[in-house]
Protein backbone atom coordinates (compact mmCIF):
# COMPACT_ATOMS: atom_id res chain seq x y z
CA UNK A 1 0.00 0.00 0.00
CA UNK A 2 2.64 2.47 1.12
CA UNK A 3 4.89 1.52 -1.80
CA UNK A 4 2.00 1.84 -4.24
CA UNK A 5 1.00 5.26 -2.90
CA UNK A 6 4.57 6.46 -2.42
CA UNK A 7 3.36 7.28 1.06
CA UNK A 8 5.07 7.79 4.42
CA UNK A 9 4.68 6.11 7.82
CA UNK A 10 5.58 2.50 7.04
CA UNK A 11 7.70 2.47 10.22
CA UNK A 12 4.78 3.44 12.42
CA UNK A 13 2.55 0.87 10.74
CA UNK A 14 4.98 -1.94 11.45
CA UNK A 15 5.46 -0.93 15.08
CA UNK A 16 1.77 -1.47 15.79
CA UNK A 17 1.00 -4.27 13.35
CA UNK A 18 1.02 -6.85 16.12
CA UNK A 19 -1.26 -4.72 18.30
CA UNK A 20 -3.80 -4.41 15.50
CA UNK A 21 -3.51 -8.08 14.61
CA UNK A 22 -4.55 -9.04 18.14
CA UNK A 23 -7.20 -6.32 18.43
CA UNK A 24 -8.98 -7.22 15.19
CA UNK A 25 -8.02 -10.89 15.21
CA UNK A 26 -9.13 -11.68 18.73
CA UNK A 27 -10.08 -8.89 21.13
CA UNK A 28 -12.49 -6.39 19.67
CA UNK A 29 -16.18 -7.27 19.70
CA UNK A 30 -17.21 -6.17 16.22
CA UNK A 31 -19.48 -7.30 13.41
CA UNK A 32 -17.92 -6.60 10.02
CA UNK A 33 -21.30 -7.03 8.32
CA UNK A 34 -22.86 -4.51 10.72
CA UNK A 35 -20.24 -1.80 11.32
CA UNK A 36 -22.61 0.38 13.34
CA UNK A 37 -23.78 -2.45 15.63
CA UNK A 38 -24.59 -0.54 18.85
CA UNK A 39 -22.93 -3.11 21.10
CA UNK A 40 -19.62 -3.09 19.25
CA UNK A 41 -16.38 -2.19 20.94
CA UNK A 42 -15.12 1.19 19.75
CA UNK A 43 -11.58 1.42 18.48
CA UNK A 44 -9.96 4.78 17.76
CA UNK A 45 -6.57 4.92 16.11
CA UNK A 46 -5.51 8.28 17.49
CA UNK A 47 -2.19 8.14 15.65
CA UNK A 48 -4.02 8.65 12.38
CA UNK A 49 -0.85 8.57 10.29
CA UNK A 50 -0.86 4.80 10.78
CA UNK A 51 -3.93 4.56 8.57
CA UNK A 52 -2.53 1.92 6.22
CA UNK A 53 -2.20 -0.76 8.88
CA UNK A 54 -5.70 -0.03 10.25
CA UNK A 55 -7.21 -0.30 6.79
CA UNK A 56 -5.34 -3.56 6.27
CA UNK A 57 -6.69 -4.94 9.55
CA UNK A 58 -10.24 -3.85 8.74
CA UNK A 59 -10.05 -5.40 5.29
CA UNK A 60 -8.63 -8.65 6.64
CA UNK A 61 -11.43 -8.71 9.20
CA UNK A 62 -13.98 -8.31 6.42
CA UNK A 63 -15.24 -4.75 6.80
CA UNK A 64 -14.51 -4.01 3.15
CA UNK A 65 -12.87 -5.82 0.23
CA UNK A 66 -9.11 -6.29 0.40
CA UNK A 67 -9.02 -4.97 -3.17
CA UNK A 68 -9.53 -1.50 -1.71
CA UNK A 69 -6.06 -1.69 -0.18
CA UNK A 70 -4.42 -1.73 -3.60
CA UNK A 71 -5.96 1.66 -4.29
CA UNK A 72 -4.73 3.29 -1.06
CA UNK A 73 -4.40 7.06 -1.62
CA UNK A 74 -5.42 6.78 -5.28
CA UNK A 75 -7.44 9.58 -6.82
CA UNK A 76 -11.10 8.97 -6.09
CA UNK A 77 -10.39 5.93 -3.91
CA UNK A 78 -11.98 5.47 -0.46
CA UNK A 79 -8.81 5.17 1.62
CA UNK A 80 -6.98 8.39 2.56
CA UNK A 81 -3.48 8.67 3.97
CA UNK A 82 -4.76 9.44 7.44
CA UNK A 83 -7.59 7.59 9.16
CA UNK A 84 -10.85 8.72 7.58
CA UNK A 85 -14.30 7.48 8.52
CA UNK A 86 -16.02 8.93 5.48
CA UNK A 87 -17.08 6.04 3.29
CA UNK A 88 -14.92 3.48 5.11
CA UNK A 89 -16.88 0.86 7.09
CA UNK A 90 -15.38 0.07 10.46
CA UNK A 91 -13.51 3.32 10.99
CA UNK A 92 -14.88 4.74 14.21
CA UNK A 93 -13.30 8.18 14.10
CA UNK A 94 -11.21 10.21 11.70
CA UNK A 95 -7.81 11.20 13.00
CA UNK A 96 -4.59 12.63 11.71
CA UNK A 97 -3.95 15.59 13.92
CA UNK A 98 -2.57 14.16 17.13
CA UNK A 99 -4.13 14.40 20.57
CA UNK A 100 -7.76 13.97 19.52
CA UNK A 101 -8.54 10.30 20.07
CA UNK A 102 -8.39 10.01 23.84
CA UNK A 103 -10.86 12.83 24.64
CA UNK A 104 -13.31 11.39 22.11
CA UNK A 105 -12.78 7.95 23.61
CA UNK A 106 -13.57 9.39 27.05
CA UNK A 107 -16.86 10.74 25.70
CA UNK A 108 -17.74 7.39 24.18
CA UNK A 109 -16.87 5.66 27.46
CA UNK A 110 -19.06 8.10 29.41
CA UNK A 111 -21.97 7.51 27.06
CA UNK A 112 -21.59 3.75 27.45
CA UNK A 113 -21.51 4.05 31.24
CA UNK A 114 -24.58 6.30 31.24
CA UNK A 115 -26.47 3.78 29.13
CA UNK A 116 -25.33 0.76 31.13
CA UNK A 117 -23.73 -0.67 28.00
CA UNK A 118 -20.89 -3.14 28.37
CA UNK A 119 -18.85 -2.43 25.27
CA UNK A 120 -15.31 -1.16 25.66
CA UNK A 121 -13.48 1.74 24.09
CA UNK A 122 -9.88 1.24 22.98
CA UNK A 123 -7.71 4.18 21.92
CA UNK A 124 -4.28 3.57 20.41
CA UNK A 125 -1.86 6.47 20.79
CA UNK A 126 1.69 7.08 19.71
CA UNK A 127 4.45 8.06 22.09
CA UNK A 128 5.18 11.34 20.32
CA UNK A 129 1.48 12.10 20.48
CA UNK A 130 1.75 12.30 24.26
CA UNK A 131 3.46 15.66 23.77
CA UNK A 132 -0.03 17.04 23.07
CA UNK A 133 -1.59 18.64 26.16
CA UNK A 134 -5.09 17.57 25.19
CA UNK A 135 -4.13 13.98 26.07
CA UNK A 136 -3.22 14.99 29.59
CA UNK A 137 -6.56 16.72 30.00
CA UNK A 138 -8.18 13.42 29.11
CA UNK A 139 -5.76 11.43 31.27
CA UNK A 140 -6.87 13.59 34.23
CA UNK A 141 -10.51 13.20 33.30
CA UNK A 142 -10.95 9.45 32.78
CA UNK A 143 -10.04 8.17 36.28
CA UNK A 144 -12.09 10.93 37.95
CA UNK A 145 -15.13 9.63 36.08
CA UNK A 146 -14.20 5.99 36.76
CA UNK A 147 -14.10 5.10 33.08
CA UNK A 148 -12.90 1.53 33.50
CA UNK A 149 -14.43 0.68 30.13
CA UNK A 150 -11.67 2.72 28.51
CA UNK A 151 -8.33 1.27 27.44
CA UNK A 152 -5.49 3.41 26.14
CA UNK A 153 -2.62 1.70 24.35
CA UNK A 154 0.64 3.57 23.85
CA UNK A 155 2.66 2.35 20.88
CA UNK A 156 5.96 3.17 22.55
CA UNK A 157 8.46 2.80 19.74
CA UNK A 158 10.66 5.57 21.12
CA UNK A 159 10.92 7.49 17.86
CA UNK A 160 8.78 10.48 17.01
CA UNK A 161 8.51 12.58 13.92
CA UNK A 162 11.82 14.42 13.98
CA UNK A 163 13.97 12.56 16.47
CA UNK A 164 14.00 10.10 19.33
CA UNK A 165 11.46 10.62 22.10
CA UNK A 166 14.31 10.71 24.61
CA UNK A 167 15.91 13.65 22.84
CA UNK A 168 12.85 15.60 21.67
CA UNK A 169 10.68 15.56 24.79
CA UNK A 170 11.27 12.62 27.12
CA UNK A 171 8.24 10.82 28.52
CA UNK A 172 9.96 8.86 31.25
CA UNK A 173 8.97 7.79 33.79
CA UNK A 174 5.92 7.11 31.60
CA UNK A 175 4.27 4.34 33.60
CA UNK A 176 4.64 6.33 36.81
CA UNK A 177 3.02 9.34 35.17
CA UNK A 178 -0.09 7.41 34.17
CA UNK A 179 -0.20 5.72 37.55
CA UNK A 180 0.01 9.07 39.32
CA UNK A 181 -2.96 10.26 37.25
CA UNK A 182 -4.99 7.29 38.50
CA UNK A 183 -4.77 4.76 35.70
CA UNK A 184 -4.15 1.04 35.98
CA UNK A 185 -0.90 0.51 34.09
CA UNK A 186 0.33 -2.56 32.20
CA UNK A 187 3.67 -2.69 30.42
CA UNK A 188 4.08 -5.31 27.73
CA UNK A 189 6.14 -6.31 24.75
CA UNK A 190 3.99 -4.86 21.99
CA UNK A 191 5.08 -7.55 19.55
CA UNK A 192 4.21 -10.52 21.78
CA UNK A 193 0.70 -11.62 20.85
CA UNK A 194 0.19 -13.56 24.05
CA UNK A 195 1.07 -10.56 26.19
CA UNK A 196 -1.07 -8.23 24.09
CA UNK A 197 -4.09 -10.52 24.25
CA UNK A 198 -3.73 -11.04 27.99
CA UNK A 199 -3.40 -7.34 28.75
CA UNK A 200 -6.49 -6.54 26.69
CA UNK A 201 -8.46 -9.45 28.10
CA UNK A 202 -7.67 -8.57 31.69
CA UNK A 203 -8.69 -4.90 31.43
CA UNK A 204 -10.06 -3.43 33.57
CA UNK A 205 -7.76 -4.95 36.15
CA UNK A 206 -9.03 -2.52 38.79
CA UNK A 207 -12.71 -1.57 39.01
CA UNK A 208 -13.24 2.13 38.45
CA UNK A 209 -9.86 2.69 36.84
CA UNK A 210 -9.19 3.13 33.14
CA UNK A 211 -6.34 1.00 31.84
CA UNK A 212 -3.27 2.04 29.91
CA UNK A 213 -1.23 -0.59 28.16
CA UNK A 214 2.25 0.72 27.48
CA UNK A 215 3.36 -1.43 24.58
CA UNK A 216 7.10 -1.38 24.05
CA UNK A 217 7.59 -1.66 20.33
CA UNK A 218 10.18 -1.26 17.61
CA UNK A 219 9.55 1.19 14.82
CA UNK A 220 9.73 -0.66 11.51
CA UNK A 221 9.46 -4.01 13.31
CA UNK A 222 10.09 -7.04 11.13
CA UNK A 223 12.18 -5.35 8.46
CA UNK A 224 15.81 -5.24 9.51
CA UNK A 225 16.74 -2.15 7.55
CA UNK A 226 13.73 -0.20 8.82
CA UNK A 227 13.88 -1.12 12.50
CA UNK A 228 14.61 1.85 14.71
CA UNK A 229 15.30 4.12 11.75
CA UNK A 230 13.71 7.58 11.80
CA UNK A 231 13.98 7.84 8.01
CA UNK A 232 11.23 5.23 7.63
CA UNK A 233 8.78 7.59 9.26
CA UNK A 234 8.92 9.34 5.89
CA UNK A 235 10.40 7.12 3.20
CA UNK A 236 8.42 4.91 0.92
CA UNK A 237 10.11 1.67 -0.12
CA UNK A 238 11.25 1.37 -3.73
CA UNK A 239 10.76 -1.87 -5.68
CA UNK A 240 13.94 -3.46 -4.35
CA UNK A 241 13.33 -2.45 -0.77
CA UNK A 242 9.74 -3.67 -0.98
CA UNK A 243 10.89 -7.10 -2.19
CA UNK A 244 13.50 -7.31 0.56
CA UNK A 245 11.03 -6.19 3.21
CA UNK A 246 8.35 -8.64 2.10
CA UNK A 247 10.88 -11.45 2.08
CA UNK A 248 11.70 -10.69 5.71
CA UNK A 249 8.12 -10.17 6.88
CA UNK A 250 6.80 -13.24 5.14
CA UNK A 251 9.64 -15.49 6.29
CA UNK A 252 8.25 -18.44 8.22
CA UNK A 253 8.99 -18.21 11.92
Amino acid sequence: MVHHANASHIGTCLSMADLLAVLYGATLRVRPDQPDWPERDRFILSKGHGAAILYAALAERGFFPTEWLARYCDDGAPLAGHVTHHGVPGVEHSTGSLGHGLPVGCGMALAAKADGADHRIVVLLSDGELDEGSNWEAILFAPHHRLDNLIAIVDYNKIQSFGSVARVLPLEPLAAKWRAFGWAVREIDGHDHTQIAAALREAPSEAGRPTVIIAHTIKGKGVSFMEGELAWHYRSPNDEQLAAALAEVERPL
Binding site: P103, L110, H145
Partner: protein, 304 residues
Amino acid sequence: MRTAFIETLCDVAQQDERVWLLCGDLGYSVLERFAERFPERFINMGVAEQNMMGVAAGLARGGKIVFTYSIANFPVMRCLEQIRNDIGYHAANVKIVAVGGGMAYGTAGYTHHGVEDLAVMRVMPNMTVIAPGDPVETRLATRAVAAHNGPCYLRLGKGGEPVVHTTPPEFAIGRALILRAGADVALLSTGAILPMALAASDILADTGVGAAVVSVPTLRPLDRAAIIRAAVPARLVVTVEEHLTWGGLGSAVAEVLSEESVGVRLLRLGLTAAPDTVGAQAYLRRQSGLDATGIAEAVRAALA
Protein backbone atom coordinates in the same frame (compact mmCIF):
# COMPACT_ATOMS: atom_id res chain seq x y z
CA MET B 1 -29.61 35.80 27.74
CA ARG B 2 -27.80 33.38 30.05
CA THR B 3 -30.92 32.95 32.11
CA ALA B 4 -33.13 32.55 29.05
CA PHE B 5 -30.72 29.92 27.77
CA ILE B 6 -30.43 27.84 30.92
CA GLU B 7 -34.15 27.95 31.70
CA THR B 8 -34.95 26.75 28.22
CA LEU B 9 -32.24 24.11 28.35
CA CYS B 10 -33.70 22.76 31.59
CA ASP B 11 -37.10 22.50 29.91
CA VAL B 12 -35.58 20.73 26.92
CA ALA B 13 -33.60 18.39 29.17
CA GLN B 14 -36.73 17.58 31.14
CA GLN B 15 -38.40 16.41 27.95
CA ASP B 16 -35.39 14.72 26.36
CA GLU B 17 -33.06 12.66 28.48
CA ARG B 18 -30.43 12.63 25.75
CA VAL B 19 -29.55 16.26 26.59
CA TRP B 20 -26.25 16.74 28.44
CA LEU B 21 -24.45 19.88 29.53
CA LEU B 22 -20.67 20.19 29.83
CA CYS B 23 -18.98 23.33 31.09
CA GLY B 24 -15.40 24.50 31.19
CA ASP B 25 -15.40 25.38 34.90
CA LEU B 26 -17.52 28.46 34.23
CA GLY B 27 -21.19 29.17 34.76
CA TYR B 28 -21.34 30.12 38.45
CA SER B 29 -24.86 31.31 39.39
CA VAL B 30 -26.16 30.24 35.97
CA LEU B 31 -25.71 26.51 35.46
CA GLU B 32 -26.57 25.35 38.98
CA ARG B 33 -30.23 24.95 38.16
CA PHE B 34 -29.36 22.43 35.44
CA ALA B 35 -26.69 20.74 37.57
CA GLU B 36 -29.10 20.31 40.47
CA ARG B 37 -31.95 18.95 38.39
CA PHE B 38 -29.91 16.71 36.11
CA PRO B 39 -26.70 15.89 38.00
CA GLU B 40 -26.10 12.73 35.99
CA ARG B 41 -26.13 14.73 32.77
CA PHE B 42 -24.00 17.65 33.90
CA ILE B 43 -20.21 17.65 33.97
CA ASN B 44 -17.86 20.40 34.97
CA MET B 45 -14.99 19.40 32.71
CA GLY B 46 -12.48 21.61 34.49
CA VAL B 47 -10.41 24.21 32.71
CA ALA B 48 -9.82 21.90 29.79
CA GLU B 49 -11.63 23.01 26.66
CA GLN B 50 -9.91 20.65 24.24
CA ASN B 51 -10.96 17.65 26.29
CA MET B 52 -14.43 19.16 26.72
CA MET B 53 -14.96 19.27 22.97
CA GLY B 54 -13.50 15.81 22.41
CA VAL B 55 -15.66 14.33 25.16
CA ALA B 56 -18.67 16.16 23.73
CA ALA B 57 -17.97 14.60 20.34
CA GLY B 58 -17.66 11.14 21.90
CA LEU B 59 -20.86 11.54 23.91
CA ALA B 60 -22.68 12.73 20.81
CA ARG B 61 -21.44 9.69 18.91
CA GLY B 62 -23.01 7.70 21.73
CA GLY B 63 -26.40 9.22 20.97
CA LYS B 64 -26.40 12.21 23.32
CA ILE B 65 -27.32 15.82 22.52
CA VAL B 66 -24.42 17.64 24.08
CA PHE B 67 -24.28 21.32 25.01
CA THR B 68 -20.88 22.76 25.90
CA TYR B 69 -20.77 26.04 27.78
CA SER B 70 -18.05 28.54 28.42
CA ILE B 71 -17.38 32.22 27.88
CA ALA B 72 -16.28 34.26 24.89
CA ASN B 73 -13.36 32.65 23.07
CA PHE B 74 -12.72 29.78 25.41
CA PRO B 75 -15.11 27.27 23.80
CA VAL B 76 -14.08 28.42 20.32
CA MET B 77 -10.44 29.30 19.92
CA ARG B 78 -8.61 27.06 22.39
CA CYS B 79 -10.31 23.98 21.07
CA LEU B 80 -10.85 24.99 17.46
CA GLU B 81 -9.29 21.89 15.95
CA GLN B 82 -11.46 19.63 18.09
CA ILE B 83 -14.44 21.60 16.77
CA ARG B 84 -13.23 21.26 13.19
CA ASN B 85 -12.23 17.61 13.20
CA ASP B 86 -14.06 15.80 15.98
CA ILE B 87 -17.33 17.74 15.92
CA GLY B 88 -17.68 19.41 12.52
CA TYR B 89 -16.21 16.79 10.23
CA HIS B 90 -18.11 14.03 12.02
CA ALA B 91 -21.30 16.12 12.06
CA ALA B 92 -21.49 15.34 15.79
CA ASN B 93 -24.60 16.51 17.60
CA VAL B 94 -22.84 19.08 19.76
CA LYS B 95 -24.10 22.59 20.58
CA ILE B 96 -21.30 24.97 21.46
CA VAL B 97 -22.58 27.80 23.62
CA ALA B 98 -20.48 30.91 24.23
CA VAL B 99 -21.72 33.55 26.61
CA GLY B 100 -20.23 37.01 26.56
CA GLY B 101 -20.21 37.30 22.78
CA GLY B 102 -18.87 40.63 21.56
CA MET B 103 -17.62 42.88 24.35
CA ALA B 104 -20.11 41.78 27.00
CA TYR B 105 -17.20 41.17 29.40
CA GLY B 106 -16.10 44.73 28.72
CA THR B 107 -13.75 45.60 31.54
CA ALA B 108 -12.33 42.08 31.60
CA GLY B 109 -10.28 43.03 28.57
CA TYR B 110 -9.53 41.75 25.10
CA THR B 111 -8.80 38.16 26.20
CA HIS B 112 -12.45 37.96 27.23
CA HIS B 113 -13.95 39.63 24.17
CA GLY B 114 -15.50 37.36 21.56
CA VAL B 115 -15.10 39.44 18.45
CA GLU B 116 -13.73 36.98 15.89
CA ASP B 117 -15.87 33.99 16.82
CA LEU B 118 -18.51 34.35 14.13
CA ALA B 119 -15.89 34.48 11.39
CA VAL B 120 -14.17 31.41 12.72
CA MET B 121 -17.26 29.33 13.36
CA ARG B 122 -18.85 30.23 10.05
CA VAL B 123 -16.20 28.22 8.20
CA MET B 124 -16.30 25.09 10.36
CA PRO B 125 -17.66 22.01 8.60
CA ASN B 126 -21.38 21.33 9.00
CA MET B 127 -21.69 24.14 11.54
CA THR B 128 -24.90 26.09 12.09
CA VAL B 129 -24.11 29.51 13.53
CA ILE B 130 -26.65 31.47 15.56
CA ALA B 131 -26.33 34.74 17.47
CA PRO B 132 -29.72 35.63 18.97
CA GLY B 133 -30.68 39.27 19.26
CA ASP B 134 -32.49 39.19 22.59
CA PRO B 135 -33.68 36.82 25.32
CA VAL B 136 -36.74 35.84 23.29
CA GLU B 137 -34.63 34.79 20.32
CA THR B 138 -32.31 33.04 22.79
CA ARG B 139 -35.12 30.84 24.09
CA LEU B 140 -36.28 29.99 20.59
CA ALA B 141 -32.74 29.38 19.36
CA THR B 142 -31.96 27.07 22.28
CA ARG B 143 -34.95 24.92 21.44
CA ALA B 144 -34.11 25.02 17.75
CA VAL B 145 -30.49 23.89 18.12
CA ALA B 146 -31.51 21.11 20.49
CA ALA B 147 -33.95 19.84 17.87
CA HIS B 148 -31.44 20.19 15.02
CA ASN B 149 -29.30 17.11 14.48
CA GLY B 150 -25.82 18.45 13.90
CA PRO B 151 -23.19 20.81 15.22
CA CYS B 152 -24.33 24.29 16.19
CA TYR B 153 -22.69 27.37 17.60
CA LEU B 154 -24.84 29.55 19.82
CA ARG B 155 -23.38 32.95 20.62
CA LEU B 156 -25.08 34.69 23.51
CA GLY B 157 -24.69 37.99 25.29
CA LYS B 158 -24.32 37.84 29.03
CA GLY B 159 -27.08 39.00 31.34
CA GLY B 160 -29.55 41.84 31.39
CA GLU B 161 -30.08 42.26 27.65
CA PRO B 162 -33.42 43.96 26.96
CA VAL B 163 -36.30 42.08 25.44
CA VAL B 164 -36.88 43.24 21.87
CA HIS B 165 -39.67 40.94 20.73
CA THR B 166 -42.90 41.73 22.51
CA THR B 167 -44.56 38.79 20.76
CA PRO B 168 -42.75 35.57 19.86
CA PRO B 169 -41.32 35.85 16.34
CA GLU B 170 -41.54 33.16 13.68
CA PHE B 171 -38.13 31.85 14.61
CA ALA B 172 -36.46 29.11 12.63
CA ILE B 173 -32.84 28.25 11.93
CA GLY B 174 -31.87 30.06 8.76
CA ARG B 175 -34.62 32.66 8.94
CA ALA B 176 -34.10 36.39 9.32
CA LEU B 177 -36.73 38.36 11.24
CA ILE B 178 -38.12 41.63 9.93
CA LEU B 179 -38.68 43.90 12.89
CA ARG B 180 -39.44 47.18 11.24
CA ALA B 181 -40.06 48.48 7.73
CA GLY B 182 -38.30 51.54 6.34
CA ALA B 183 -37.94 53.01 2.86
CA ASP B 184 -34.39 54.32 2.77
CA VAL B 185 -32.04 52.08 4.67
CA ALA B 186 -31.93 48.39 5.61
CA LEU B 187 -30.26 47.82 8.97
CA LEU B 188 -29.25 44.17 9.36
CA SER B 189 -28.16 43.15 12.83
CA THR B 190 -26.87 39.95 14.37
CA GLY B 191 -26.47 39.14 18.04
CA ALA B 192 -27.08 41.16 21.16
CA ILE B 193 -26.39 44.50 19.48
CA LEU B 194 -29.91 44.35 18.05
CA PRO B 195 -31.41 46.95 20.45
CA MET B 196 -28.80 49.45 19.25
CA ALA B 197 -29.88 48.94 15.65
CA LEU B 198 -33.48 49.58 16.65
CA ALA B 199 -32.57 52.68 18.62
CA ALA B 200 -30.53 53.96 15.68
CA SER B 201 -33.57 53.44 13.48
CA ASP B 202 -35.57 55.62 15.93
CA ILE B 203 -32.98 58.38 15.73
CA LEU B 204 -32.93 58.20 11.95
CA ALA B 205 -36.74 58.33 11.79
CA ASP B 206 -36.66 61.59 13.74
CA THR B 207 -34.60 63.11 10.97
CA GLY B 208 -36.77 61.74 8.21
CA VAL B 209 -34.73 58.68 7.25
CA GLY B 210 -36.69 55.45 7.13
CA ALA B 211 -34.54 52.55 8.32
CA ALA B 212 -35.87 49.02 8.21
CA VAL B 213 -34.48 46.70 10.89
CA VAL B 214 -33.87 43.01 10.27
CA SER B 215 -32.58 40.69 12.94
CA VAL B 216 -30.31 38.03 11.45
CA PRO B 217 -29.86 35.52 14.25
CA THR B 218 -28.66 32.75 11.93
CA LEU B 219 -25.42 33.55 10.15
CA ARG B 220 -25.18 30.10 8.63
CA PRO B 221 -27.25 29.10 6.82
CA LEU B 222 -27.93 32.69 5.89
CA ASP B 223 -31.43 33.82 4.89
CA ARG B 224 -30.32 35.05 1.48
CA ALA B 225 -33.85 35.70 0.23
CA ALA B 226 -34.73 37.96 3.16
CA ILE B 227 -31.51 39.91 2.78
CA ILE B 228 -32.12 40.45 -0.91
CA ARG B 229 -35.73 41.49 -0.24
CA ALA B 230 -34.54 44.03 2.33
CA ALA B 231 -31.68 45.28 0.16
CA VAL B 232 -33.35 45.73 -3.21
CA PRO B 233 -35.57 48.73 -2.34
CA ALA B 234 -32.97 50.39 -0.07
CA ARG B 235 -30.50 53.16 -0.87
CA LEU B 236 -28.10 51.78 1.70
CA VAL B 237 -27.64 48.41 3.41
CA VAL B 238 -25.99 48.52 6.82
CA THR B 239 -24.74 45.55 8.82
CA VAL B 240 -24.41 45.94 12.57
CA GLU B 241 -22.48 43.44 14.66
CA GLU B 242 -20.39 43.38 17.81
CA HIS B 243 -17.64 41.59 15.93
CA LEU B 244 -14.96 42.43 13.43
CA THR B 245 -16.43 43.85 10.25
CA TRP B 246 -14.86 41.03 8.27
CA GLY B 247 -15.80 37.37 8.47
CA GLY B 248 -19.14 37.84 10.20
CA LEU B 249 -22.44 39.36 9.15
CA GLY B 250 -20.88 42.16 7.10
CA SER B 251 -18.90 39.73 4.99
CA ALA B 252 -21.79 37.30 4.67
CA VAL B 253 -24.10 40.05 3.42
CA ALA B 254 -21.43 41.39 1.06
CA GLU B 255 -21.17 37.92 -0.47
CA VAL B 256 -24.91 37.75 -1.07
CA LEU B 257 -25.24 41.26 -2.48
CA SER B 258 -22.37 40.82 -4.91
CA GLU B 259 -23.33 37.31 -5.97
CA GLU B 260 -26.91 38.39 -6.59
CA SER B 261 -25.85 41.62 -8.32
CA VAL B 262 -27.84 43.77 -5.93
CA GLY B 263 -26.44 47.15 -6.83
CA VAL B 264 -26.75 48.82 -3.48
CA ARG B 265 -24.13 50.37 -1.28
CA LEU B 266 -23.12 48.36 1.79
CA LEU B 267 -21.90 49.90 5.05
CA ARG B 268 -20.40 47.40 7.47
CA LEU B 269 -20.45 48.56 11.09
CA GLY B 270 -18.54 46.66 13.71
CA LEU B 271 -15.05 46.53 15.10
CA THR B 272 -11.87 46.94 13.15
CA ALA B 273 -9.36 46.30 15.92
CA ALA B 274 -9.05 45.35 19.56
CA PRO B 275 -10.24 48.26 21.72
CA ASP B 276 -7.36 50.48 22.80
CA THR B 277 -9.09 51.48 26.00
CA VAL B 278 -10.68 49.97 29.09
CA GLY B 279 -14.35 50.08 29.86
CA ALA B 280 -17.72 48.48 30.23
CA GLN B 281 -19.60 47.15 27.22
CA ALA B 282 -21.67 50.31 26.74
CA TYR B 283 -18.55 52.46 26.82
CA LEU B 284 -16.64 50.22 24.42
CA ARG B 285 -19.59 50.13 22.04
CA ARG B 286 -19.72 53.91 22.09
CA GLN B 287 -15.99 54.16 21.45
CA SER B 288 -16.42 51.85 18.47
CA GLY B 289 -19.42 53.71 17.07
CA LEU B 290 -21.70 50.82 17.90
CA ASP B 291 -24.12 52.70 20.15
CA ALA B 292 -27.36 54.03 18.70
CA THR B 293 -25.98 57.51 18.08
CA GLY B 294 -22.83 56.20 16.46
CA ILE B 295 -24.78 53.89 14.15
CA ALA B 296 -27.21 56.68 13.19
CA GLU B 297 -24.36 59.10 12.49
CA ALA B 298 -22.53 56.59 10.35
CA VAL B 299 -25.70 55.97 8.35
CA ARG B 300 -26.36 59.69 7.87
CA ALA B 301 -22.76 60.24 6.77
CA ALA B 302 -23.04 57.44 4.25
CA LEU B 303 -26.28 58.85 2.86
CA ALA B 304 -24.93 62.39 2.59
